[in-house]
Symmetry: C2
Subunit: 422 residues, 2 copies
């Protein structure tokens, strides 16, 4: 077994393993920077013992720890024995031991295993893991139950055409666009408060820096709530918990990425969508109707940031025609909201219709056939608490938090219409 | 907002909401048992106020808590005001307020939202949520990073034909059978220790009580290990943590299901597969070659249980032809194992090949074309720590733990060749 580098203290014989990150050859000694998940340490190796090992070769060494301040710490290891665990024989296709990875997005993704060895890239996913874990731990502390809903579904489409379909033993199945129907059904089943962090699939053929064809949705749904305001207050508290967890667990990663997390205001400002649209139309001579485009989302964010100092903004009261059939209406608008974070939508949420007949009518109004939603509709016949919920896109939240423009960089193995590998 | 039933103490005015679980009508009073996720409470309601509400109607009431010992607690609520949140107008298709649900599996699954209202059914999923959460929390405490690997893959098949395929913008994509390749790649990327809890897909057309076409795999993979013994010791510790978490958080659910968790021995017994096969062949006059069938797995479990008192058994040294191409060989056998729990395989694990050429050779030996694994193979060129891992089937572990025969009962919405809905 290897000794973790961080466990080394004082002069003692140790055994450590890792990747050869950097090499500096002098006549009498080779200085090797060894890397593992805990960080870096300098090794002093006899040139004959080192031979001609290439960068990224995995080695295991025995040696003595001695005081010798260097860029990577207060100690170095004088190596007595070196064994190669995995030799690299080819030159690396990308340089990964520089200050930053100076490569394009495609090169980064084509070489995902190597590009993640740069600490600025792996830091993104260490932070992302804390986001999803703290999402879950917050909800568990609020008596939510984690669920696993099926990704192979028959009643998959929420009314859009952007679903992947496949042959399922002679039947047509769809890949779930969201766990929406199932999380509602689980609230109705009496679990009342449920969450799921899982993959969702959108067969959208456009290619933008904000869209993926497969992404991770952090979904929650809760019963016995009366207004969408409760959901917005709940999400504010949830985000505060997540940010606090990141600050607590990821100081090394935040420093590496030169990120300071934004302050979440006590109450995140809200604005009616209609008001936002008028404001943008007036200020920027646009002619938006009924919704904001991505550019306007940035403009309204900047406007509100100037006004309130908040980098978050809830847009509320979306019109009925912009929301799915299960959204609770209020006149021609809905009891729903989006959360913009630095001008990017990271959440859609709202109250849901909980009356059977109202839901059927809403489907008909949207031109949908209630017969295609039989199993979902059936759940609304036998006692449904008023309920609502929201979903946060994990990759989008990660991207905005870390000031990353392209969502692909916050996805280990992104799927877009041109990329199905690695 | 509603008041949680469990927060009631002493005589005070309260507001609670929930489902009408049982009704007993007397001349002067209707006794209603109200149910929510926290449990049950008895209400005393004026018959006129109650009217003719049906079972499972969702109501919200105001009233005074008074001492009155009954089957469900020390208190009842004398209702002053009752509002209906969601009225039930139809008779229930299944009876859900009996001691147990006396219905067949298909009826249970066709009425999933209702059948889950029985506390014996929801208890299964509350325990399951603790299993997956404690799996994650244990691994995080061991410095593992949670990953999300793609479910849409191009290099999907590990050599079998049992994959679902679909059209992905003109290309053929597969649904991932496991995160195997990706979790290995993430170890190799330098994260070293990773886990994922997510959906996996198997297009197997057989229908048994032990198989599903979509299930939740709890996967882990770790670098810098030297032997499969380390993995087995690690899993033993992991299971002990999970069981302890269940005992800590789910005493109500365990009581409801009349379950006492088994003791996990300090060291789980191991047996070479060959030895197990010979033993079964000799004792039961069978003619097994190279692997156990489900019946033999039960027999070997019973044999070892008699001998050691352990309900767990690691079978080791599976022959090469029974294991996927990435498995580390040892002569004609492999450094791999299965964990049987009460005679059911709940885990497959082992060391992996970490040398590029050995992996290519292993593919060729299996008749696989290395060209079809290009992205995966590429990762093995640039420094790969010795590594291994394992996967636990969430539904199978839940089923064995709770003495449930059919895995469908431990899946919210099971998918088999005849079931794609609800």
């Amino acid at each position: 077994m290897r000794t973790m580098i961080k466990e080394i203290n004082g002069e003692q014989e140790v055994n450590v393993s890792g990747w050869i990150h950097r090499v500096k050859k002098l006549k009498a000694v080779v200085f090797v920077i060894l890397r593992d998940r805990s960080g870096y340490i300098q090794l002093a190796v006899n040139p004959e013992m080192f031979g001609h090992l290439k960068l990224e070769t995995v080695i295991s060494i025995n040696g003595f720890v001695v005081s010798n301040a260097n860029k990577y710490g207060q100690y170095e290891i004088q190596v007595k024995k070196l064994s190669v665990l995995s030799e690299v024989t080819e030159d690396l296709p990308i340089k990964i031991n520089g200050e930053s990875l100076e490569i394009g997005m495609d090169t980064m993704l084509n070489n995902r295993v190597l590009s993640l060895r740069h600490e600025q890239e792996s830091a993104i996913f260490k932070i992302q893991a804390v986001i999803s874990q703290s999402f879950k731990s917050f909800l568990m502390s609020k008596d939510f139950t984690e669920i696993h809903s099926p990704k192979l579904v028959k009643e998959g489409a929420e009314g859009g055409a952007n679903v992947f379909s496949l042959d399922y033993f002679g039947e047509v199945a769809y890949l779930a666009q969201s766990p929406q129907f199932y999380k509602q059904m689980m609230v109705i089943s009496g679990l009342e408060r449920v969450f799921e962090v899982g993959s969702v699939f959108r067969a959208e053929s456009h290619s933008t820096v904000r869209h993926l064809n497969e992404y991770v949705s952090m979904d929650l749904e809760m019963g016995f709530i009366e207004s969408e305001d409760e959901l917005m207050a709940f999400e504010t508290e949830l985000l505060r918990h997540i940010f606090s967890a990141i600050n607590h667990s990821c100081s090394k990663e935040l420093t590496c990425l030169e990120i300071e997390l934004p302050i979440i205001p006590e109450v995140i400002p809200t604005m009616r969508l209609e008001e936002a649209t008028e404001l943008i139309n007036n200020m920027y001579h646009k002619e938006l109707v009924g919704d904001l485009d991505p550019e306007s989302e940035i403009l309204i964010y900047k406007y509100m940031y100037e006004l309130t100092g908040s980098e978050f903004l809830f847009l509320t009261h979306y019109p009925k025609q912009k929301r799915p059939m299960y959204t609770m209406p209020e006149g021609n608008e809905t009891k729903s909201f989006d959360l913009l974070f630095r001008g990017l939508e990271i959440t859609t949420g709202g109250l849901r219709i909980h009356e059977y007949q109202q839901l059927v009518d809403s489907m008909l109004e949207k031109g949908l056939n209630p017969k295609q939603y039989e199993a979902y509709l059936e759940a609304f016949k036998y006692g449904v608490p008023p309920h609502g919920g929201l979903a946060i896109g994990l990759e989008r939240l990660t991207a905005r938090l870390l000031n990353i423009d392209n969502i692909r960089r916050t996805t280990l193995f992104p799927r877009d219409r041109n990329r199905l590998t690695p």
